[in-house]
């Protein structure tokens, strides 16, 4: 293999067998160590769980139309919102972008043939499936009713549901996160191609790196907290039972020491995705690249020091409350900087409104509102009023659904031609993006209002004064459900009926676009060498017209 300096025309690689053709049997998929195929295995698995979690909350929203309930028992209701939380957090959001797009793109973006440990990568998927099996068992056996937070002593001593199996599922799937994290960190350190210095890494790679650090450092703490719950529930080890000298609040500390950084596991990858999308569709270099890098690393580090803001009402000392409040304001600074930088990236651009860009713009608006309401929750007196109400529910859905899921959709639409070699129906994609944005706001805006007024979360029956907000919210959820089903349909159809995309339909500069779409088994025919900074769109200096009708890009400056 000889090293060649980019440019080489991707066209030269036409005729190379794509990774999709490297084996068509089921066994070839289940035993693959190709990072691209593992990404697809993950994508299918998390999509299944996304819709299971979605059905659970769909039933909850339907039930909430009537203040006294319609068709569920209180136990049934509690089990549905619990399974929604467990599935959406651990079986969809945490693996969503890293395990699918991260797996597929990180090696491509840094010019590597695969991740550092391909077999560990496959093991991580099997661990996911193992954890998923426990969760499916919980679903079939009758559910779990502790909420996704597993607070003792309810979970350890009082709940009559399948707590141990649910905790085991989360415990196992945690190791899949750790395996992915270790793999990505090593890959980024060891396998960057010549010329790919740290500060030439695309922001998506930086986001994967920051996320992986958090996964590796925080997830073991989650595992500990779950082991302790199981030890207390199954063997009577009184870690959290105050009657025997334990401490029920200790669990909350350990749990949130993972689960707050986990919020950043869910949002950092989203920040990486939209950075790529904004640059490509505004045809601009990302504004303040180095600030963006430092901001991501700052979020990852400071994110470890704010867990106590989940316990402002749990009897923490005033001093602890003040310190955690302060740190929570501080962690919001880098997020704000990123919002400003994305906005500034649009300045003087050549902005195209293709589907990925619409999803990314949706992310920008919703993430901003999610972030601003985070300031409310960092202020202790406001938090005391709105914590454990629908205000908090709305806040974290703005971040995790308005933010992460919008970015996930942006990424799926942006890299779909890369993965499949096909184009989807652009009209339906735009329509779904707009519907998703509107449906989302209709679902969660009313929740801010009723939360502030005093509507607690996790309530099966509720005071009738809040009915109007619940009805609006459920209506929004119905719209949102339709918006989520649409991509499933048109993306699936595109696999068979979609037009051929060509190698680089967006005229993007990333290294992943400098090979065929779909890429060959080992990603690049020749080892790429990087000679320029990422996002050199402004040097192209010409509008990008859609779908390969414009003249080919000037070649020579990669990434």
């Amino acid at each position: 293999m000889t090293d060649v300096t980019l440019p080489f025309a991707p066209q030269k690689e036409v005729g190379t067998e794509s990774f999709l053709d490297a084996g068509h049997t089921l066994i070839s998929w289940l035993t693959t160590t190709d990072h691209k195929r593992i990404a697809i295995l993950y994508a299918i698995s998390i999509t299944i769980f996304f819709f299971i979690g979605g059905i659970a909350i769909g039933l909850v929203r339907l039930e909430l139309i009537e203040p006294s309930g319609m068709f569920l028992t209180s136990d049934g209701y509690n089990r549905l919102f619990t399974i929604h939380g467990i599935i959406m957090v651990w079986f969809f959001l945490v693996p969503s972008i890293p395990a699918t797009m991260g797996n597929f793109l990180l090696p491509l973006m840094i010019g590597a043939r695969d991740v550092a440990f391909p077999r560990l990568n496959l093991l991580s998927w099997y661990l996911y499936v193992g954890g998923a099996a426990f969760t499916i068992y919980v679903l079939v056996a009758g559910g779990v009713d502790t909420g996704w937070t597993f607070y003792p002593p309810f979970s350890s001593d009082y709940s009559n549901s399948h707590v141990i199996a649910a905790a085991a599922g989360v415990f196992v799937v945690g190791f899949s996160s750790i395996a992915t994290g270790v793999n990505f960190i090593t890959t980024t350190h060891m396998l960057r191609c010549p010329g790919m210095t740290w500060f030439r890494l695309p922001l998506f790679c930086w986001s994967m790196y920051a996320t992986s650090l958090v996964m590796v450092l925080a997830t073991p703490v989650l595992a500990m907290s779950l082991v302790l719950i199981v030890a207390e529930r199954a063997f009577g080890l009184p870690v959290f039972d105050a009657a025997k000298g334990g401490d029920p609040v200790l669990f909350q500390h350990i749990f949130w020491f993972y689960s707050h950084p986990a919020v950043y596991i869910m949002i950092l990858p989203a920040m990486g995705v939209v950075s790529e999308v904004f640059a490509c569709f505004a045809r601009r270099q990302v504004f303040g690249y180095t600030f963006m890098v430092y901001a991501m690393m700052a979020i990852a580090v400071i994110g470890f020091m704010v867990w106590g803001h989940h316990m402002f009402v749990a009897g923490q000392s005033q001093l602890a409350n003040l310190v955690f409040s302060f740190l929570s304001f501080i962690v919001a600074v880098p997020s704000a900087i990123k919002v400003f930088n994305w906005t500034a990236t649009l300045y003087r651009g050549q902005i195209g409104f293709d589907a990925p860009m619409l999803y990314a713009l949706g992310f920008l608006g919703l993430f901003t509102i999610g972030g601003l309401t985070g300031l409310f929750l960092a202020s202790v007196p406001i938090d005391i009023q709105v914590t454990d109400t629908y205000f908090v529910v709305a806040h974290f859905h703005f971040i995790m659904v308005g933010g992460s899921v919008s970015a996930f959709m942006a990424g799926i639409h942006y890299w779909w031609p890369k993965v499949t070699g096909r184009l989807y129906n652009e009209f339906w994609a735009k329509f779904a993006a707009i519907t998703m944005f509107l449906g989302f706001n209709m679902t969660f805006m009313p929740q801010f209002l009723m939360g502030w007024e005093g509507m607690p979360r996790r309530y099966h029956v509720y005071p009738p004064v809040f009915q109007i907000w619940h009805v609006l919210s459920s209506g929004g959820a119905a719209i949102l459900a339709i918006a989520y089903i649409m991509p499933l349909v048109y993306l699936t159809l595109s696999l068979r009926y979609g037009a051929r995309a060509g190698n680089n339909p967006w005229h993007a500069t990333g290294l992943e676009w400098q090979t065929t779409s779909p890429p060959p088994k080992h990603n690049f025919e020749r080892r790429p060498v990087v000679i320029a900074d990422p996002y050199m769109y402004h040097e192209i200096g010409q509008p990008r017209s859609s779908h390969d009708t414009s003249p080919p890009l000037p070649q020579g400056r990669q990434i």
Binding site: S74, N78, G147, Y151, P153, F154, A242, A243, P248, V249, R283, G288, F291, V313, A314, G315, Q318, N321, L322, S325, F326, F329, A332, V333, A336, I337, V339, F340, N341, L346, Y347, R348, G349, Q350, I351, F353, L361, L364, G365, I369, L372, L375, A378, S379, V380, P381, I382, Q385, T387, D388, E453, G454, P456, R458, Y459, V461, P463, P464, V465, P543
Partner: protein, 318 residues
């Protein structure tokens, strides 16, 4: 039930919380309008193929802009932290003469015990314009007493005490409810707060069937369950500490530490007597877990406090 039972500002503290809230809302609106304005301007003006002038930005300018909005954001957040922090500190300690009401939560009800001995379930009477301190504990899982009209919420933990205090300013009937998920009927664990005038409160307490006030109930228990056999019994062969003036005092422990004999300490002494042994005493006291229920512990505690001349002052320090 009307929305007023939730959103009325029934105390001075609630009014101040609302002020902070609306300031944050105002700042958020300004930020959202600015950003939306900028984004809309950019995506319209710089849409693909428009004839607006473009070109790279000077590097130096980029740097200054970054520094500029980073520090602006930082100082804005610092200001918000300070603003909210002042609010928090101002509300942190109740006055010494606060009326203390005990709250015991269990699946799925709240029980309130007044100093007069009066007891009520899922309904709480408090006097107007009087500082009220709630000392709360749970008999089973974690609950949370949430009173929207007072903008107050605090977890109620098993085997621990947590506190909130307030001075109600607006008479009326308000909603109170459990805010920490506690099992099947979590959403049915609610009640009402009646803020009444001091005269009405006094009338209400005297109309209750409980004859004795809490401290006297505790005194009786102290003798019937056997505490007095060792404590407070000069003729006893057992070497047990004298409990007069204990509440609020500093206690030297056998392991060298010093702790304040507050409610949490006394409660531990009743239920987990062999933890934190005071210096000079043998760990030979039996546990009263299962002998005294939460309500009775509250009464014994009230009695122990009544033995202490400095109790009010110490209670206020919580």
């Amino acid at each position: 039930m009307s929305l007023d039972q939730f959103i009325t500002e029934a105390s001075g503290y609630a009014r101040r919380v609302d002020e902070t809230f609306w300031i944050l809302v105002a700042i958020s609106c300004v930020v959202v309008f600015l950003l939306t304005g900028l984004i809309l301007t950019f995506i319209i003006r710089y849409r693909r193929g428009s004839d607006a002038p473009r070109g790279p930005l000077p590097e130096a300018l980029k740097h200054e802009i970054e520094i500029g909005w980073t520090s602006a954001t930082f100082f804005l957040f610092l200001f918000l932290f300070w603003w909210a922090g002042v609010e928090l500190m101002a509300a942190s300690s109740p006055p010494k003469d606060a009326l203390e009401i005990h709250v015991v939560a269990k699946q799925w009800m709240f029980r309130f015990q007044h100093p007069s001995g009066a007891r009520e379930i899922d309904e709480l009477h408090v006097p107007l314009a009087t500082p009220v301190r709630l000392a709360m504990t749970s008999e089973d899982v974690i609950h949370d007493l949430y009173i929207p009209a007072l903008r107050l919420k605090r977890d109620i933990l098993p085997d621990r005490y947590t506190y909130i205090w307030f001075t109600a300013t607006t008479p009326g009937t308000y909603h109170l409810t459990c805010a920490e998920f506690c099992g099947t009927n979590h959403s049915r664990m609610y009640g009402q707060l009646d803020i009444v005038t001091m005269q009405d409160y006094a009338r209400w307490t005297t109309a209750q069937p409980e004859g004795d006030d809490l401290a006297h109930q505790g005194d009786k228990l102290f003798h019937t369950v056997g505490c007095s056999g060792c404590h407070d019994s000069p003729g006893s062969t057992v070497h047990a500490p004298d409990l007069h003036n204990l509440y609020g005092r500093l206690v030297q422990l056998a392991d060298g530490r010093t702790v304040t004999a507050d409610e949490a300490y006394l409660r531990d002494k009743i239920l987990l007597p062999n933890r934190d042994i005071p210096a000079g005493y043998a760990p030979d006291m039996p546990s009263f877990r299962g002998v005294l229920n939460e309500g009775q512990i509250v009464a014994v505690m009230a009695y122990l406090k009544s033995l202490s001349t400095t109790s009010n002052e110490q209670g206020a320090r919580q």
